[in-house]
Symmetry: C2
Amino acid sequence: MITNYEVFRSELTMSKEDVIRELYRENTDRISIKKEATAVKNLTRIIDSTLRLANSKGFHAMTLRDLCADSGMSMGGLYAYIRNKDDLIHLIQSHGFIITRRTLQHYTADLDDPRERLYAAIKAHLYLSELMRAWFYFSYMEAKSLPEPEKRDAIAIELEIESIFQTVIEDGIREKVFADKNARLVASLIKAMLQDWYLKRRKYRDQEVSVDQYALVLRDVVESYISVSI
Amino acid sequence: MITNYEVFRSELTMSKEDVIRELYRENTDRISIKKEATAVKNLTRIIDSTLRLANSKGFHAMTLRDLCADSGMSMGGLYAYIRNKDDLIHLIQSHGFIITRRTLQHYTADLDDPRERLYAAIKAHLYLSELMRAWFYFSYMEAKSLPEPEKRDAIAIELEIESIFQTVIEDGIREKVFADKNARLVASLIKAMLQDWYLKRRKYRDQEVSVDQYALVLRDVVESYISVSI
DNA sequence: GTCTATATAGGGATAGAC
DNA sequence: GTCTATCCCTATATAGAC
């Protein structure tokens, strides 16, 4: 059960290094570095720089020279971690998938009331995308140019997220907590609003809206549409 | 006053060629072709192909050789219409701006009731993005890599659209038709849902939701949140 | 394990024939 | 007004020194 963003954040950040370590172990075939400690350190720099540069000018427009300059590595050094530029995408996507899967499962399972589950799912998604904004943004923007396997995974995770919301709403309709609306369409609209949070982050910063406020408004918007009127 | 998508469509499509003609006249300095008829014909092919290719693999990843193959032009022929690759962006963006500005002004001015104006604005935006899907998609996805002047225009038009919605809602609040909610934030959420329509067009096609149905649901979602309960 | 120097190809841009 | 052939730079990728 999540309470608010700060709690969520403190629970999750410590595991960031673990994720990179897991990523390293999953990719020992492509990565020629043997010492785990240095590998984790450099992978972190590579991933951070790639996300920053790709998100500001686009992945394809980002050159590996840009990446080396930004991450402080040399071309040769970089190529110890990847075989080609597409492997960079693989690294980025994998590390995001690991975190996303883990978190969403964790935070939406154990609630009974559909209203509460709906709110919990909204918060879980918003908080996660707040913490991993760069990855979510990258994933959305580069989706169309992802290599085939990564594209499949990305679509699968999208559907998974959307069906979490659809299921909650359908449950609520069955239990007469929600009115009989088009659950799938409502789920799509929820997702659109969730995505806007990380796609247009600056806009909401300018409006001085916090994640928790946004979560509340989202919940109210959705509930006022699907709640059964008394 | 708009009734439904089919009517909107038949009113607007005839002017598509006019827009390209206007585009040509605005850019006679960069375009070395003197005969208007051939220029309009080729500009149309160039714009269509660019949108198709850029939207499927990204503008930067699209090579001018790709473009020539797709549009049936030669490199030399293409360069009679542009001085460099960025000029392509300029062509695309200009022709979209021309249509968008013209349409939004036309369809949201002359209504009194805030509820009706809200619905009209939702429909105008959805219908327009339905008709010009490729341009809207391009504009959104390439926004970050646009040349400076085009970027400024794109941001300006975004704000313009958002403030149309904000104003309608504020008017409604003042007239006690709508409850006292955060108008700017609601406008942002509306825009997020409007954008999802053209960004994730396939998803809604799979759900077999029509533009008009989507417009209705959007209106209901928004109204159920901001309407004053009786 | 990390660096610099270099090979190679691919794509933007242009010259000049027709 | 349109095409083909070509120039030249940039970016990926690799070889080999340290």
